[in-house]
């Protein structure tokens, strides 16, 4: 099942994908073009991984980390499918990051990797934009790079875990203005989904609705104002976003 949170007719609805349309929680069937898309899960605690694909780490001239490089993101940064992301006027290098987002289903503490999938509710797509001009070497990547308003589109769907046979073998692609600029596969993650859940829950409690953005493969390019950016993950759909000034 693919689930969405949308605005239709002035109110927020939960919806399901139904033969190319959206079936709202009140039984109304509406077209995908008729709604405003919200993040499919209301973000609370959101983890993001840096350098979790060996090819992206070497692209940025970093050694692959020996322990997950985790940072947190605030709710201000998330926007839904077909949203607009603001590029600051002085930015010289702003790039997308297509990432598999894992949504936690229930309270998780000291979970072993072999049980980790029992704590996954589903998956969605995140585009974790970074503005490299603002990188500083304190708590890197710092929030000025990674937690800006509008800079983390997420969606369109929350896809139920049981619908994704192997989340560790999904193709990720990014298109800028229709041109394929990034391609990778989740099998190349350094720290897999079960390992990340074991790692995080080893030292803190994860809650239902927490989201883990699992990092991006190589293929970063600058996205100027006006760029139409599509991040796509096999089985999850296509997340569309426009860069604005």
């Amino acid at each position: 099942m693919k689930r969405a949170r949308i605005v239709y007719g002035g109110s927020i609805h939960h919806a399901k994908e139904h033969e190319g349309n959206l079936l709202l929680d009140n039984g109304t069937l509406v077209g995908e073009e008729e709604v405003v898309w919200l993040p499919p899960v209301e973000p609370k605690t959101v983890f993001a991984l840096g350098l979790n694909y060996a090819d992206h780490a070497s692209e940025l001239a970093f050694q692959a980390p020996s322990e997950p490089l985790v940072f947190l993101k605030g709710p201000n940064t998330f926007i839904g499918h077909k949203g607009q992301t603001v590029r600051p006027a002085d930015a010289t290098y702003m790039h997308y990051e297509c990432e598999l987002a894992v949504v936690i289903s229930k309270t998780a503490r000291k979970v072993k990797a072999e049980d980790a999938y029992n704590f996954v509710r589903g998956y969605t797509i995140a585009n974790d934009y970074a503005i490299r001009d603002y990188l500083e070497n304190y708590y890197r990547p710092n929030l000025r790079v990674k937690n800006r308003d509008t800079c983390t589109p997420i969606g369109p769907w929350l896809v139920d875990a049981e619908d994704i046979q192997n989340p560790m073998n999904l193709t990720l692609k990014t298109y800028v203005n229709g041109e394929l600029t990034q391609e990778g596969n989740t099998k190349d993650m350094i720290f897999s989904i079960p390992v990340l859940i074991e790692y995080l829950s080893s030292f803190m409690t994860l809650n239902a609705g927490d989201i883990i953005l699992t990092g991006t493969p190589k293929g970063s390019v600058d996205t100027p104002v006006g760029a139409q950016v599509i991040t796509e993950i096999e089985g999850l759909g296509r997340l569309a976003n426009t860069i604005v000034g």
Binding site: K44, T45, V70, N76, R140, R148, D149
Partner: protein, 260 residues
Amino acid sequence: MSKVIFTFQGSHLFHDGEVRGNFLHYNGESYEINKLPLDAPVSGTIYGTLLNYKGALSQMGNAVYEEPYNMPPEAPILYIKPINTIIGYGMPIPMPIDETELEIGAALGIVIGRSATKVSVTQALDYVAGYTIVNDVSIPHKSIYRPAVKFKARDGFCPVGPWIVHKEDINPDSLHIKVFINNELKQENTTGNLIRSVPKLLADVTEFMTLSEGDILLAGIPENPPKANAGDQVRIEIEGIGYLENRVMKEDELIAGVNI
């Protein structure tokens, strides 16, 4: 006497009251503060600020010019204390099994009153509802090159309270802060030593991200944060707000973070 906003354990409601001495006046009645099941007065996201005390930055010395930092911080360096870390007045701070001491971060919590985006220094305080006390607990760690989630985001590592004091009663840029461990004074500082004053910090943070109603921005942690061991009673006092008290307890003596 100060006007406060508070909440009780098990309730999502925020109430207006008045504090006089050891009593909280609410709805025409007086209650002894120590007998009230106060909860953390938090409804938004808590953002911490790194190296915002002059003494904390100067203690870094030349390291800020060396690898891996290479230059002193330019913009505010923030971090998030996620919801699993937040606990209220009087609740136990869990000491992780593998650790022996915790760092006590005495922070002024700036509580946002309405959505703040790109606010100016002169108008910044218009967006503040009030102030609270936050204990930004950490596992001691030296490097601040990579995000410190593993050191700062443990369950129960962010006591907040006991209440929010209305901003009208507070000048946030000259508040005495004291930390007592088992009633012994261990640290003293003042928000007069902030590198970015409260209005300046709000302006510089909201330049790149919106702070929403209920969010709490921490003004920073003074240098030489005291250490606490299991069993220690930790008390942070901030002038004009009150005090926040919590005891450190071994994690395995608690059930889901609660002492029953």
